[in-house]
């Protein structure tokens, strides 16, 4: 194949795949930043915490204190389950949250969580939590990125291309991960 024809094919693939990849790239890029900082914040859920007190239900047998706790919490939502976590700890689980009750002191912590709009779904896709169906899309997307990267090299000729500034930038792009790998391995 002539170089001119080859470049033409590269341009076509790069352009078409480039448009196709915009949405998917935003999914992975936005979620990537979000989950990169998972140790600083919860990227999937907005959480709420409310503290208050009820009259202490006491630390008697669970069968006796459970109805007392439920009555004093005055829960109106359906209860999923309950758990006596310890002598003084009682937990109530609801859809989207729950209660931690200190049976001795009556201190209550009301936990709530709700999926972050949009970001939850982006993370679900990025982390491939749904497995099988998305695996195919993610594989195709990965392949598209490879094709775009390789075809991109041949788009521009001359001093802005591979033999000029483009080549230097490409070398930097290789050097960065290589240096990081060497340094991080060296540091154990």
């Amino acid at each position: 194949m002539e170089m001119r024809t080859f470049r033409k094919w590269c341009r076509t693939f790069h352009r078409e795949l480039g448009f196709l990849a915009v949405g998917l790239t935003l999914v992975y890029a936005i979620s990537g930043i979000a989950v990169n900082h998972a140790h600083h914040w919860d990227a999937n859920y907005e959480r709420t915490l409310e503290r208050y007190s009820i009259e202490p239900p006491g630390t008697g047998p669970t069968s006796e204190i459970e109805p007392v706790v439920m009555e004093r919490l005055a829960i109106t939502e359906p209860v999923k389950s309950t758990w006596r976590a310890g002598e003084t700890e009682f937990q109530v689980f609801l859809e989207g949250g729950g209660y931690d009750v200190n049976l001795a002191t009556g201190e209550v912590v009301r936990h709530g969580f709700a999926k972050r709009p949009l970001l939850f779904d982006l993370n679900f896709m990025h982390l491939n939590s749904g497995k099988a169906p998305w695996t195919g899309i993610a594989d195709v997307y990965g392949g598209m990125l490879i094709v775009m990267a390789l075809t991109g090299i041949f788009l521009v000729r001359g001093r802005k291309g591979l033999t000029g500034r483009g080549g230097v930038l490409m070398a930097l792009g290789f050097l960065l991960p290589i240096l990081y790998a060497v340094v991080s391995r060296g540091g154990g």
Binding site: T12, F13, E16, L17, L20, A38, H39, D42, A43, N44, Y45, R47, T62, K80, S81, W83, R84, A85, G86, E87, E89, Q91, F93, L94, E95, G96, G98, F113, L127, S129, G130, A132, P133, W134, G136, I137, V140
Partner: protein
């Protein structure tokens, strides 16, 4: 060249249709469960050394979940106050916050990690923080063995 675009868009549409048709799958995490018998958590915790390295399957209410990465859940035992942790590889299985309070059947290999004194203190400090209690490291006088299920799969039992 137009054919290339048509082909690419067709592939994408087919893949998206596949996702849509797959819909909301059963609440199966990882490889699900396949071990023949479900054992009581209390039975497992009573003689933990006996099961080290063996594949175990337990059932219990999810009473704790890793808040940030969904990489573990704690299942309630049939004995009050006792729990067992199911730890999964980060990203391989992600337990959602919604699993709290659900009845879960989980499977994996029972493992024991003997901690050093320093590690024991760190674990105790983290547990105390999680439970909102004060931690006094002088009270830690013995090394801890951390038992957990190295989880390969889980299923949320139908309600």
């Amino acid at each position: 060249m137009r054919n290339v675009s048509v082909l690419l868009v067709s592939v994408l549409i087919l893949l998206v249709a596949g996702v849509a048709l797959a819909g909301e799958s059963d609440k199966v995490y990882g490889e699900g469960v396949s071990a023949p018998d479900t054992m009581l958590v209390s039975e497992l915790m009573a003689t933990p050394e006996a099961y080290i390295g063996k594949t175990v399957r337990v059932k219990g209410t999810a009473v704790g979940v890793c808040a940030h990465r969904g990489c573990w859940i704690n299942l309630a035992s049939d004995t009050e106050g006792e729990t067992v942790r199911v730890k999964v590889k980060d990203g391989v299985i992600v337990f959602p916050a919604e699993i709290m309070g659900d009845m879960v059947v989980a499977e994996g290999v029972w493992t024991a990690n003997e901690l050093t004194m320093e590690q024991t203190k760190k674990v105790c400090a983290a547990q105390a923080k999680e439970e909102g209690k004060e931690f006094d490291e002088k009270k830690v006088d013995a090394c801890m063995t951390l038992y957990q299920i190295s989880g390969t799969g889980a299923v949320v039992a139908s309600k």
